[in-house]
């Protein structure tokens, strides 16, 4: 057994040494590095591609305009595999490079939850797109959100449906993952506050092949308006078709996924005349229009929130570093929190002390497959 142990020890030694070698090779360079965890593989690989493009576009613009602290910005992307263990490893890999000054985390709330303990340990700013309200309310001072959180999306859906569309009998439908559960809860609470508690609160599991029981439950509940939080576009597509086939034509206000490109392609006419809350709507502001133009020119696809938030995250982060005049984490943090009236693609950023940059949503309407901006609803609390 002697040889065994020696082999084993050599193997372990090699395993320990290799990352150090890789790291020391990376440690040189005269750029300012920003790390990004994005799903390059796994179920969200598609949106991951958009997110990386958005971030790269922003960094190109920043570099053209003089860079960060006079140096060129460099984006280092690690694949988070769309899983929680994946993002923990991806982030710890980035975190072990001491010259990375700031990070872009995930748009998925569970992943941000998973990496959060490591973020506290590291103590450097991480821009996130996950919309679970808790993320910025659990004492982690290093998370900064570049999208409005779900308490706002729930309130906007409820506000729009109750005040503008004047409907009071709500059916709430949400996926049972973290995103859907948090969203459904926020919507239900907002509706209850507005005096219109939902008549149906229904969860469903991701990747369901059939929604007939759900549609029939909505039909039976007598609801006159539907609010929804869908995670995956193919679920949304199947549901939308079955909803229409089974003759349910009540107004429908959905979470951002209802207006994303893939969903529009899959569901087609079944989503006509629905409303969606959108953190990104191309016509909602000058900043949104500007981003839309850049993105269309570069990527040849319509822009959406997957790319707009990373675009904003890079801009907010680089501006904050420039304003701080240093790569010191504490100073960058203060500079981010001091960011007010900053025009981004998603809207106007006014960071609060929790690290939330945006406080409202756009309502958009699906007009025969075209997404048109309807109104912006902003909250001040």
């Amino acid at each position: 057994m002697k040889l065994t142990r020696r082999d084993f020890a050599t193997g372990i030694a090699a395993g320990i040494a290799a990352p150090y070698l890789i790291k020391s090779a990376n440690a040189q360079g005269a750029t300012i590095k920003i790390g990004m965890c994005a799903p390059v593989t796994g179920p969200a690989a598609e949106s991951g591609g958009y997110a990386i493009k958005g971030a790269k576009l922003a960094l190109e613009a920043v570099n053209k305009a003089g860079g960060i602290l006079g140096k060129q910005g460099e984006l280092i992307v690690e694949d988070d595999q769309t899983t929680n263990p994946g993002i923990v490893l991806a982030f710890s890999k980035l975190a072990s490079q001491p010259d990375i000054v700031g990070f872009l985390g995930s748009i998925r709330s569970t992943q941000v939850h998973a990496m959060a303990p490591d973020v506290i340990k590291l103590g450097k700013p991480v821009m996130i797109g996950g919309t679970d309200p808790n993320l910025t309310h659990m004492g982690n001072q290093w998370l900064f959100r570049c999208r409005p959180n779900d308490s706002y999306s729930g309130r906007v859906i409820a506000e729009y449906g109750v005040s503008t569309l004047a409907k009071k009998k709500w059916a709430v439908l949400h996926s049972t993952d973290a995103f859907g559960t948090a969203g459904g809860k926020a919507l239900t609470e907002a509706l209850t506050k507005l005096g219109a508690p939902p008549v149906l609160d229904q969860g469903y599991a991701n990747q369901s092949q059939d929604f007939t029981p759900v549609v029939l439950a909505i039909k039976q509940s007598g609801a006159d308006i539907l609010g929804s939080y869908f995670t995956f576009e193919n679920d949304l597509g199947i549901f939308a078709r079955q909803l229409r086939q089974l003759g349910v034509n009540i107004p429908w206000v959905g979470s951002p996924s209802i207006v994303n490109i893939t969903a529009l392609k899959l569901a087609g006419p079944a989503l006509y005349n629905t409303y969606g809350v959108a953190d990104y709507a191309e016509d909602s502001s000058e900043g949104s229009k500007a981003f839309g133009k850049i993105y269309r020119d570069a990527v040849k696809v319509a822009p959406d929130n997957q790319s707009s938030w990373t675009f904003d995250a890079i801009n907010v982060l680089s501006a904050a570093i420039n304003k701080a005049g240093s790569t010191d984490s504490g100073k960058i943090r203060e500079a981010i929190l001091a960011t007010k009236k900053f025009a981004g693609a998603e809207g106007e950023y006014n960071f609060d002390q929790n690290g939330d940059g945006l406080h409202g949503y756009n309502i958009v309407k699906n007009e025969k497959g075209n997404i048109t901006f309807d109104k912006h609803i902003e909250f001040n609390d």
Partner: protein, 290 residues
């Protein structure tokens, strides 16, 4: 009542999809005594082939034929690459190799075609018809129709044709079959081709309903596998009935018990069957070994 009828139709529709995939499982299992964990990926690959062929401008029927021919080819490659080299080993390595093959197929498609779900138009212009209180989706009607035809075809093929009888003989006793001058390896090859085509057929038929995505195969395959066991492993009629029963149980379970736990019903029913009636609805008693 209207509600129940609508649920019954959808349940049978989705159940027919499970049944088609289950049929592929059963045929390979009978011929080789191996469960092919890549059977679901056959459906997925076929759906993508169909999308590619339609986008290339082929008429729908021609795309359909091209996709099924592609599946036949995949069946050949699968047999030669995955099953054949391991045919003398126990079931365990073969199971694991098919799991490897399913990972390979799913991710090769992902690497080539990207992660975006695709839309495949259905066979019919009209999406469906309203019969009294029940809405009948035309694609589901087609799936149910095809399933019925396949049941009849399989019966005729295996009971009445010489090739079918040779296949039967091979699945029952390989040594005896080879003594009778049947080429066992040819029969196994034919089985893989037929199963790949069947799995592909299921994928192409269901694609307009569920969209074309990388994950579409694996979700269906797990249910289809459960259907196979519920029906009685190795029994063609059992696979069909098992599939239909599972679709209906699942749909009603979701409607009357819990939507989020919908996927759990299939597996609970399965475990119950394994404990109380392991031979399935139609199967014979699990053979005593001597």
């Amino acid at each position: 009542m209207d509600l129940a009828l609508q649920l019954l139709f959808t349940g049978i529709g989705i159940g027919a999809v499970y049944a088609l995939v289950a049929l592929g499982f059963v045929l390979i299992f009978r011929a080789t005594n191996v469960v092919n964990f890549a059977q679901g990926e056959f459906s997925m690959v076929a759906a993508y082939l169909m999308v590619v062929a339609v986008e290339a401008g082929l008429p729908y029927w021609a795309a359909f034929i091209v996709a099924l021919l592609g599946m036949a080819l995949l069946g050949v490659v699968f047999n030669l690459g995955v099953y054949y080299p391991l045919r003398h080993r126990t079931y365990l390595p073969v199971i694991i190799a098919t799991i490897g093959a399913s990972i390979l197929l799913a991710n090769s498609v992902l690497a080539i075609y990207g992660p975006q779900p695709q839309v495949l138009e259905g066979w019919f212009e009209t999406p469906g018809i309203q019969v009294g209180p029940v809405y009948l989706d035309s694609q589901y009607l087609l799936i149910i129709g095809v399933t019925i035809c396949l049941v009849v075809f399989n019966f005729w093929f295996f009971e009445k044709t010489l090739l079918g009888k040779k296949l039967q003989a091979t699945s029952q006793d390989k040594e005896m079959a080879s003594l009778l001058g049947i080429s066992v390896s040819t029969m196994i090859m034919i089985t893989f081709i037929y199963s790949a085509v069947l799995g592909g057929l299921a994928g192409i038929l269901v694609a307009p309903v569920l969209f074309v995505s990388i994950q579409m195969g694996s979700t269906i395959a797990l249910k289809a596998f459960a259907a196979t066991i519920i029906g009685g492993f190795g029994d063609v009629a059992g696979a069909i009935i098992g599939g239909l029963a599972l679709g209906v149980i699942e749909t009603f379970g979701a409607a009357y018990i819990s939507v989020p736990y919908k996927d759990g019903f299939a597996f609970l029913v399965l475990i119950a069957f394994l404990i109380f009636r392991p031979q399935g609805i139609f199967g014979e008693r699990v053979a005593e070994k001597a």
